[in-house]
């Protein structure tokens, strides 16, 4: 296998692992917060439904966490196995947040174990809820630290490279790079948003399938409210991300927006297709790109014409941008309508067609997460470390990457299918109605 092949297969394997891992990772970051909120509402309102909600979400969460942990271990090791030269450099400069992440993960793992096995152990439920706080903090901080590393890949700083030698390394400056604030905020908030919509999707599905139980309605309303809050936050942070890109990675912004020539008063191109270098069927919003990039409708936005051809990212990232933004906006709108509709008692929000839209929201949000990460990673090409190291120079020279790719593809297929089967069996066997009546009779037995 020539080295070009090794680079190609390394890229495919990394993309596959990340695309699979990110589903479980996103859920893993967001769900603990949702469980915490549900349990807290349950304790406050003394409402058994919310407590049960927390309980059932936790059960599902354990399954997704397991897959998240093992695929996270896989990507952690694959970084060194597939990109040894990158990790050699990264280890010298950005190892700090990676190391911190293992502690966050450690912290989360320990308290998750405790939380899982101490239901009903405490007289005071608040004590049990306290155990969840380190889980939620650990999960969110894992995301913060890992995203830190990714931000560094986009905006490397904190070192000097003189004749191939690293000098003046400053781990903290590397960690707090310009890409970090927007990227970290965006990743964490969209994880909350996606988790809320995935849980909403499940509740809506149960309602569609004939269960009109108040449990599902409470679940749906709670998660849609949370989803609304976090989708608005995501949109605001998205705007800041645009400004970050304009300043520090203009080629990525320009490629994502098909902005070919530097100009002032630049329009924002949405949708459309690219034919022989011409944009067709696109929706052009006048001045919007200038506003997104610089908060000023006449500001000049750097176009792709200012970059050498071999430093321009693939132009198909525009489609990824479209997918991400459209779904984000759509989910904000959908949750707004649902929340308003519930408060104002609009009839149509209980109609099957509307509930189907809510069901669709879960998978769509996951798709938006995938599109966002592809946009981020492909949009950084040809660099693995922007401006410093090209992806093709970082890969392994091993000849067995293609076989490993097949093995891992098989693994992810098995894990994906098994986790779906296990999750659906788990909840189908033990329905909410069943569990509520079991608990009621258990309690009655105790009181007698």
């Amino acid at each position: 296998m020539g080295n070009e092949e090794a680079v190609f297969f390394s890229r495919v394997l990394t993309e596959l692992t990340l695309s699979f891992h990110i589903i479980y990772a996103t859920i893993g970051v967001g769900i603990p917060l949702m469980i915490m909120i549900a349990q807290w509402v349950g304790i406050k309102k003394q409402d058994e439904h919310y407590i049960l909600l927390a309980r059932r979400w936790t059960r599902g969460f354990v399954i997704t966490v397991a897959v998240g942990v093992v695929t996270g271990t896989a990507i952690g090791l694959q970084l060194s196995l597939l990109w040894p030269k990158f990790m050699e450099l990264a280890g010298n400069v950005i190892a700090l947040p990676l190391f911190m992440e293992t502690f966050a993960f450690f912290f989360e793992a320990i308290f998750l174990g405790i939380y899982l096995y101490t239901w009903d152990r405490f007289e005071n439920q608040r004590k049990h809820l306290l155990l969840l706080i380190p889980v939620a903090i650990g999960a969110s901080f894992s995301a913060v630290f890992i995203t830190n590393v990714n931000a560094f890949m986009n905006a490397p700083q904190g070192f000097d490279l003189v004749e191939g030698q690293l000098i003046n390394v400053s781990p903290l400056i590397a960690m707090f790079n310009p890409a970090m604030p927007t990227k970290v905020a965006h990743v964490v908030v969209t994880a909350y948003m996606t988790s809320a919509f995935v849980l909403a999707s499940i509740a809506a599905y149960r309602l569609l399938k004939g269960s009109e139980h108040a449990y599902h309605k409470k679940s749906l309303f709670l998660t849609m409210k949370l989803g609304l809050v976090f989708s608005i936050a995501s949109a605001i942070i998205g705007d800041f991300s645009g400004k970050y890109l304009a300043e520090y990675q203009p080629e990525k912004l320009a490629a994502a927006e098909w902005h070919f020539e530097t100009e002032g008063g630049a329009p924002l191109v949405l949708y459309g297709v690219l034919k022989d270098g011409e944009i067709k069927y696109a929706l052009k919003i006048p001045f919007a790109l200038s506003i997104l990039a610089h908060s000023n409708p006449t500001a000049e936005v750097t176009g792709l014409d200012e970059f050498p051809e071999d430093e321009v990212p693939p132009l198909y990232i525009h489609y990824l941008f479209d997918i991400m933004v459209t779904i984000g906006m759509w989910m904000a709108l959908l949750s707004l309508i649902y929340v308003l509709g519930t408060l104002k008692k609009w009839r149509f929000i209980s109609a099957p067609w509307f509930r189907w839209l809510l069901v669709l929201g879960g998978p769509l949000s996951i798709l938006a997460i995938e599109a966002g990460w592809w946009l981020d990673e492909v949009g950084r090409q040809p660099w693995i470390l922007r401006g410093i190291m090209r992806t093709k120079d970082a890969a392994t020279t091993s000849g067995q990457v293609d076989i490993m790719l097949l093995l891992f593809a098989g693994l992810y297929l098995v894990l994906g299918v098994a986790s779906v089967v296990v999750l659906s069996r788990m909840f189908r066997k033990n329905t909410v109605e069943q569990e509520l009546s079991d608990r009621a009779s258990e309690k009655a037995g105790v009181e007698k």
Partner: protein, 341 residues
Amino acid sequence: MTLEIIGISVLWLFLFGYVIIGSIDFGAGFFNAYSIVTNRQHILTRIIQRYLSPVWEVTNVFLVFFFVGIVGFFPKTAFYYGTVLLVPVSFAIILLAIRGSYYAFTTYGGLKHKRYAVLYGLSGLLIPASLSIVLTISEGGFVSIVKKEPVIDYWALFTSPLNWSIVVLSLSAVLYISAVFLTWYADYAKDVKATHLMRRYALIWAAPTIITAAGIIVELADHNPEHYERLVDLWWLFALSVVLFAGTVYFIWRRSSYFAAVWLMIGQFLLAFFAYGFSHYPYLLYPHLTIYDGFTNEAMAISLVIVFIAGLGLLLPSLYLLLKLFLFNKEYVQGKEDGHV
């Protein structure tokens, strides 16, 4: 003490932690599978499940900690080991992934099948086998530098008696460590039948463990004389380790104190593991990479050490809480309490 030594000592300590709790985990899976095949499932399953359930995820973190830490403290290891370990470590990841998720699927998701339990048990033996190959590679002789890139000679590796001895040692050590621990745990849970069975396994696996360990030292004399000489210089540490080993076997044989046996066993492995580590110094990979030329810059090293100390301050109380609630909680261990979600 230099930063290099601090770095490698911390990592070595965490690797030791993984060796012990990973072994308990892997061995437990194997004994569970074995008891299913021989229709003695009822004796062991409950004990093993109770121990493993709250800690399985924590086990994995020790491994993650080690490999993230080593790239942090010694970034050149990514270059040397990253390329040559693609195949063995990928196998280990896949097995770990199947094993870890399968555990969650069965324990929390109710997916149960005899055949899977057997696969689960076997995967627990293949993981230490594939990971221990890394130790063989570190002894040198299998990696050469061709056109500035490290290349591994698989044929030499798979025909090397040293490699196979290390693999065998990893297997028997896994079973021995696990059996000693579970003997105590079963006794603590007042489960007479399980104690009896685990005690037998502990005694069975004691001899192979010590014999292969001795065999490896002999083979090293041939394979890596430099390392062998340094090993022999530390003979007293190994001798002490053997004394502790004898103590463990004695306590288990006499059924006098299983608790003391566990600690002696941990002491035995701690001494041997660190004696091996000291004698390996200063090489990370014979003869290409030492801890000195593989080390990171000073700024990174200092910040990693600070984070490590801060992290430990967070971690130790949490681990203590975990152990107190489950491992050293009689009510829980004896199965009188079940607060599972």
